[in-house]
Amino acid sequence: MSDPATLAATILPPLLRGAIVTVEVAAGAFLIAVVIGMLLALIKTFGRSLPLRACVDLYVETFRNVPALTHLFILYFGLASIGVKLTSLSAAILGLGLIGAATLADVFRAGFQSLHAGQREAALAIGMTPGTVLRFILMPQALRTTLPPLANYGAQLVKDTSIVAAIAAPEIMFFARSLVTSTFETTLIYLSAALLYLALSLPLSFAAGRLEKRLGGGR
């Protein structure tokens, strides 16, 4: 085990396999978070129904003020006890996605709020339907301003996938833990895992920083 080459050959393949799952979980969760988050933001920004808006608030507060691990345990162990059995991967993607939706709902809402009300009024006044206004006028601009926080969220998400190891989803941390029990190279393995996460999340946070500068520059 002390030979560096054999050690690398033992450690790297599982960690990289884990990295692929990490990316899959992050991508799946990101997609769910964007779709549900946008829906929540639209209801909060343009919705008139009070009960519906209250539901959105309740959703956001629930997911914001309770740890991700608790949500994952409810989805994975809790639901299984009443007969709804999710695989660890789908529980991971669904859990992180639902949590992310609460984060992105606020991000998107801030994006819509940064637009001047006059734009919507003008577009409606020249006879565009509310749906068209949303699709061609408001959404593209709101998405543009929310790009930096979206990239930041992505970086955060990549790191957050580490906790789905706790429900046995086979991502980086999961493989790292099992490698440690078989090789006892604790520090080396966890450091490699940390570096892998860093390599996955740094490009996203750099992109966020650059986008922020670029979008801010025009003002």
Binding site: E61, R64, P67, T70, F73, I74, S162, A176, Y190, S205
Partner: protein, 227 residues
């Protein structure tokens, strides 16, 4: 619905009597780690103001690395990795250190943003009238920075509270580990984890509300273009 609620009526008080002390551990872990994060983060923010570029750079690298690595990896390195070098930390100490280090990067960024938000003229004016830099920071800069960063610092505290649940994985007897143990004892994971979620919510929500209120107060008088 009834089958969901009856276990609470049967065992709810027993569960609470076990979970609430564990929530106390969660709270003390969170507070200790937060204090550490504020001290470390304040130090890092100060380094970023240093006139030595090497110090500024290393502070920046620290922030980038710590923000890019999952809390769990930091916790595992401290708890499982350090004993290999003869440093065996007990779970609570490793947890405090890990959470503190991971949050310190965010605290440093918040304080830096607070410093950036102050007008340069204040500093120059104070120095011009002969104020010593130490007094300047104590009486003029710090109070304002704290005021500006308070909402964001509270958000960090909430994030830290939530992250403290991960310390269950390095065997700290906090809320989540206790809930996990209860759920294997009573075979009612849904009810127990929902109850656990409610306890976390009861701690975090008031802090969220406070954070938002402070933020609104800071923004008062500043006009936004919200439609």
């Amino acid at each position: 619905m009834n089958s969901f609620l009856t276990p609470f009526a049967d065992n709810g008080s027993i569960w609470l009597s076990v979970l609430l002390p564990a929530a106390g551990t969660t709270a003390s872990l969170t507070i200790t780690a937060f204090l550490l994060a504020v001290i470390l983060g304040g130090g890092i923010a100060a380094l970023r103001l240093s006139s030595l570029s090497a110090l500024r750079r290393s502070a920046q690298i620290y922030v980038e690395i710590v923000r890019g690595v999952p809390v769990l990896a930091i916790l595992f390195l401290l708890y499982f990795g350090l004993p290999g070098y003869g440093i065996a930390l007990d779970p609570f100490t490793a947890a405090t250190l890990g959470l503190g280090i991971s949050s310190s990067a965010y605290v440093a960024e918040i304080i830096r943003a607070g410093l950036d938000a102050l007008h340069k003229g204040q500093r120059e004016a104070a120095l011009a009238i002969g104020m010593k830099p130490r007094i300047l920071y104590q009486t003029i800069i710090l109070p304002q920075v704290l005021r500006i960063s308070l909402p964001a610092l509270l958000s960090t505290l909430i994030a830290l509270l939530k992250d403290s649940s991960l310390c269950a994985l390095i065997t700290v007897d906090e809320l989540m580990l206790t809930a996990r143990a209860l759920s294997t004892e009573y075979f009612q994971p849904l009810q127990i984890f929902v109850l656990t979620g409610v306890i976390y919510f009861a701690i975090a929500w008031p802090l969220s509300l406070l954070s938002r209120r402070l933020e609104r107060r800071l923004l008062r008088g500043r006009r936004t273009v919200a439609g």
